[in-house]
Amino acid sequence: MTDAIIDIDRVTKRYGSHTVLQDLCFSVRPGEKLALIGPSGSGKTTILRTLMTLETIEGGTIRIDGESLFQMERNGRQVPADEAHLHRMRTKIGMVFQLFNLFPHKCVLDNVTLAPMLTKGVRKADAERRAMELLDLVGLADKARAMPAQLSGGQKQRVAIARALALQPRIMLFDEVTSALDPELVEEVLNVMRMLGSTTDMTMLLVTHEMSFAHDFADRVLFFDRGRIVEEGPPEILFTNPTHERTQAFLKKIIAAGQRI
């Protein structure tokens, strides 16, 4: 597939003797919204972390826009990527974390403006104007001068989304972004993501346990188990008519736990 924005080709990832991803292959089209679901420890989060270069891989190739993430060409040979290559590749990708990872010593506005000013040389006034637009987008313009510690979990996560958007990535990775939130705060974050999904052409990869959100949001759902894709398909098929027994068992458990799909 040559028009893929993300191409994962026989990727293997190990922690010591424990194999997390085994010969994993899949690709993502530009603008596609992809949900990664599956039991804990199935390797979903590891994929996002690997794409963000927070983890390295032991085998295989990841290509972003046709260009290898962890390898680069030097004198006609493929060599391990250096910092400059990784830096360039990271400009295409943004990530939102389960625990927000806001900078606690900076106010909301500074959290959002820091990276554009440092990595893209955006002037302070421009960065702040853009940041205010983004904070407005996530409904937090009135919190620009608040410190992260003064915000609720849902507000923190919306700031984290604005912060990632400020760098205008083409790919956004959402790693269980509502898992650490109190139930009543989940919806405000999901609403922001719905809005992003419908108003932007960003490619979005989402690791989630919110099955009904994945159902409504994703163009395609990948079900992972033990580092492999067990089953994939459009949500209306995968959720209502899964063919693989492990998918069926997983969804059964989810429904038994009280979630609506």
Partner: protein, 219 residues
């Protein structure tokens, strides 16, 4: 009855020397601590090795010996320092070695999630350190730096061994000239304590300023 005003003047001269040594010593110790502390965290093994060698050497040998080296041995190698310079050098490097471990530990105490946020926002290692990790780590460093500064203040009394007339030295002078023991040493005690309190107070204020907003209370 001796001329107490004159003797008090002598003591205040000593107090000034002690203050000078403390301020200049801290001014050297602080950059030494940051250089060596961050050096220990470097990706380059040579930088790490130099930092570790510095830290271990200055923590592992006595401040007396270091002072004697700075004042008596360096001239043999063609480097002649005034007593004040030698005192500042020995005190600064000695306390800097302790401070380096404070810097290292504080930077390492910042959670991995902060590093990861920096990577995800595509900051360089230096930008992450400068804008994200050090500002948070500095808050952790201040209380221990306060201890170090007070230790440095108290260690300044060793410079009397290289003929510098600091506070302790002057107290001895006054004692030998007047035969009075309690009064000069009481004065010394009070002055040292006042200095230490000043450091303590200043550091507390600094800490309050730096932690403002971090706990969720807007002040």
């Amino acid at each position: 009855m001796a001329d107490w005003a004159g003797y008090l003047g002598l003591m205040l001269d000593g107090a000034l020397v002690t203050a000078k040594l403390t301020v200049l010593g801290c001014a050297l110790a602080l950059p030494a601590a940051f250089l060596a502390g961050l050096g220990r965290l470097s990706r380059h093994s040579a930088v790490r090795a130099v930092s570790v060698a510095y830290i271990e050497f200055f923590r592992g040998t006595s401040i007396f010996v270091q002072l004697f080296w700075a004042y008596f041995v360096l001239p043999l190698m063609g480097v002649t320092l005034t007593p004040l310079q030698a005192g500042v050098l020995a005190l600064g490097l000695n306390v800097g070695a302790y401070g380096a471990e404070v810097v290292r530990a504080a930077v390492q105490s910042i959670g991995r999630e902060q590093h990861e946020a920096c990577v995800a926002l595509n900051l360089t290692r230096w930008q992450s350190l400068r804008h994200v990790l050090l500002p948070q780590a500095a808050v952790v460093m201040v209380p221990t730096f306060c201890n170090n500064a007070i230790e440095l203040l108290k260690a300044t009394s060793v410079v009397s061994l290289i003929s510098l007339s600091d506070l302790t030295f002057q107290a001895q002078v006054v004692r030998s000239q007047t035969g009075s023991t309690a009064l000069p040493f009481l004065t010394v005690l009070v002055i040292y304590f006042a200095y230490a309190s000043l450091i303590s107070f200043g550091m507390k204020a600094l800490e309050r300023r730096m932690t403002r907003g971090l706990d969720g209370l807007r002040t």
